[in-house]
């Protein structure tokens, strides 16, 4: 299926442990390598993007990692400071109010405020323009929360629009919602492995994204993909001779057929284009491995297939 990821804002999500961060990083690296100014956002987590690329930590400020590639670890506190400053325009007033211990603990309990703030900063960067009027970033890639939380995270703007009375917060939320549901601008990349549970969760997430959040899943990265290796004759002769080798080969083939079934499932059931990312057996997972994944993502980045 010919397909290119042309959206300005890309959320990468999947079940915990399937390699979301690696795929988000590989995708961003791919965009940057094709001359697109790209920002990767992590959301208040132990930073992984900069580590994977073997660069110093980015922290809560937008930091240039390499040519065309920037990274930021968005924290609610920093996002709040920025939003509040934009609105108040006076640093001392911000300090007096928002850094007051009591006010801080009060803000912490406004429902969904943290998520709104983090998403708000993502949206801000996706819409941020230079003095010349052109966008500051061509692509914003978000390493989004895992499946269970992804839906509630992406639905936060809608929830705020529905539950918060009109006011600045509600207005911000509506702006975010409008960008998220715009399929020309925003896309979700699903990451999964070929195992049954992650696939099932991916299917559920896909349906919820389509029906409830209305933020559009565009494609699936199938991580830990394994190609078949042994023939039927191989397996036959192993079965007769070696218990260990026979079970190793059988496990390999079981995983290979699981991989093939996963491609069929994603393709037919979800109707989404799939990129296969081979399982890598390297002692470390670092820049070299991310580059390898990035090459596999080539078709989505507009490379000829």
């Amino acid at each position: 299926m010919s397909f290119a990821l042309a959206n300005r804002l890309v959320f990468v999500t999947g079940k915990g442990g399937v390699g979301k961060s690696s795929v988000a990083t590989a995708l961003a690296l791919g965009f940057a390598g094709r001359g697109l100014r790209t920002l990767v956002c992590e959301l208040n987590v132990q930073e992984r993007v900069s580590t994977l690329l073997e660069r110093p930590q980015a922290g809560p400020a937008v930091t240039r990692l390499e040519e065309n590639l920037w990274s930021v670890n968005i924290t609610p506190d920093e996002a709040l400071r920025e939003v509040a400053l934009m609105r108040l325009r006076v640093e001392t007033l911000y300090r007096a109010v928002f850094e007051n211990r009591l006010v801080k603990s009060f803000l912490r309990v406004i429902p969904s405020l943290q998520e709104v703030l983090m998403l708000g900063k993502v949206v801000f960067h996706a819409q941020e323009k230079e003095a010349t009027g052109s966008y500051r970033f061509d692509r914003v890639v978000v390493d989004a929360p895992a499946t269970g939380h992804a839906i509630s995270f992406l639905m936060v703007p809608q929830v705020v629009v529905d539950t918060v009375p009109p006011g600045p917060l509600a207005r911000e939320a509506k702006n975010m919602r409008d960008l998220l549901v715009d399929e020309r601008q925003t896309a979700v990349v699903l990451v999964t492995t070929p195992e049954e549970m992650p696939l099932k969760e991916t299917a559920e997430l896909c349906e919820k994204l389509r029906n409830e959040a209305r933020v559009w899943p565009r494609c699936v990265a199938l991580n830990n993909f394994i190609d078949p290796r042994f023939t039927q004759e191989d397996l036959q002769s192993l079965r007769a001779s070696s218990h260990v080798l026979s079970s190793l080969a059988q496990v390999h083939e079981a995983r290979a057929s699981q991989s093939a079934a996963a491609v069929a499932f994603l393709d037919h059931k979800l109707g989404l284009p799939v990129v296969k990312l081979p399982r890598l057996f390297t002692p470390e997972f670092g820049r070299q491995e991310v580059c390898a994944l990035s090459r596999c993502l080539g078709p989505w980045l507009g490379d000829a297939q």
Binding site: F106, T163, V164, R229, F281
Partner: protein
């Protein structure tokens, strides 16, 4: 420290709490512990919060509700098992559990005010920490009001396992918010409903805040906090009971981790914090470990003609690389989680999603099998 820490815990404890980051197989381990207990003769309830319904699938149930459901004997039999005591499972529905809790604590008049408040809607479903809070509350209720010899609690899939300990406090902060009371400082009028948002409209801080959230948001929040604060003594005393339950000698935690090195600092931190909080940790389970292949396999592989030989050698090399990485992770855990024992569960060929597979996992958990390559 017992040589078979999990077998001991399954025999002696009344509450086992599985904690760990999302995606490490917590739900599988929780289900496997419950299954083992029931087959060994102690009735158990497995309680999960997993919104992705993994436990239901693992136990062969199409759907798990907010009530306790017994697992059919036929399922055990199909897996070649005979349960000597009952196994039940439930999946916590957050919204329903919150409603249930509020119903138990309130007068009809208070209830009406809470349920109709828009802030309550989002607290009960989306407030960060809300899941964790209600999970602990449910555990408290089940332990006090039901007679299961063992309750296994599977905790919410937080991206940071530590959130789990912090979250209930965040909810309590919300319900008993010093700042809120200061800012909103109600002046109770003679009537019941009457309170004025006194400082809300006068202090500079609240004016600035209102600029940010909108005045009406603050008012709705104030209303909500007012009603909820009437329930505060109840919430506080329940929280005390939860705390007592977690530090009780009959309760133990099981930390579930993947042997993936780059995630292990967090596991170690979780372990440290649990011990600091005087919470017993029965074991750290390193889940989905590639066990090393016996050395003799290489010679065996070399005896085959090409191309099978090369295919075998490639497969052995891949497996050995994975096993080496996992072994590094396991020894790291062993070193840094002393004196808590680390129990290894191998990565199985395929997903664990039925009783047969859960049983196999349990055999590693209790130490019946320690090498993947031993013949059955």
């Amino acid at each position: 420290m017992s040589h078979f820490p999990i077998a001991t815990a399954l025999r002696d404890k009344t509450v086992l709490v599985c904690v760990g980051a999302g995606g490490v197989g917590k739900t599988t381990i929780a289900a496997s512990l419950g299954l083992r207990s029931s087959v060994d003769g102690r009735a158990a309830l497995v309680c999960t919060i997993d919104p992705a319904r993994r436990l239901a699938t693992s136990l062969g149930l199409a759907e798990l509700g907010n009530t306790e459901t017994p697992i059919a004997r036929e399922l055990f039999h199909a897996a070649g098992l005979v349960p000597r005591a009952a196994l039940s499972a439930m999946m916590l529905d957050m919204k329903a559990s919150w409603d249930h809790l509020i119903e138990r604590l309130t007068t009809p008049e208070q209830r009406a005010r809470i349920f109709s408040n828009r802030v309550y809607q989002s607290v009960s479903s989306t407030l960060a920490g809300s899941q964790e809070y209600i999970a602990m509350e449910k555990l408290r209720e089940l332990r006090l009001e039901r007679s299961y010899p063992l309750i296994v609690l599977d905790t919410p899939p937080t991206s940071h396992a530590l959130d789990f300990l912090d979250a209930p406090n965040r909810v309590l902060d919300f319900l008993d918010n010093e700042a809120a009371r200061f800012l909103l400082s109600p002046v109770a009028a003679a009537g019941k409903v009457g309170f004025r948002l006194f400082r809300l409209s006068t202090t500079r801080a609240s004016k600035v805040l209102a600029k940010f959230t909108g005045q009406r948001t603050l008012e709705e929040l104030a209303n909500f906090i007012m009603v909820m604060s009437e329930l505060n003594p109840d919430f506080r005393s329940k929280a005390e009971e939860v705390r007592a339950l977690l530090t009780n000698t009959n309760t133990a935690f099981v930390i579930v981790a993947s042997p993936n090195l780059e995630r292990l600092d967090e596991v170690v931190r979780l372990h440290t914090v649990l011990l600091q909080n005087r919470i017993a940790v029965a074991a750290v389970v390193a889940n989905r470990v590639h066990f090393p292949v016996p050395e003799t396999a290489w010679a065996e592989a070399k005896a085959f003609p090409a191309p099978l030989r090369d295919r075998l050698l490639e497969t052995l090399a891949e497996h050995a690389a994975a096993a080496r990485m996992d072994q590094r992770g396991v020894s790291y855990l062993q070193r840094l989680c002393l004196p808590t024992p680390v129990v290894e569960v191998p990565r199985f060929d395929l997903d664990v999603h039925d009783l047969t597979a859960l049983w196999k996992v349990s055999r590693y958990l209790v130490g019946e099998r320690i090498t993947e390559w031993a013949t059955e």
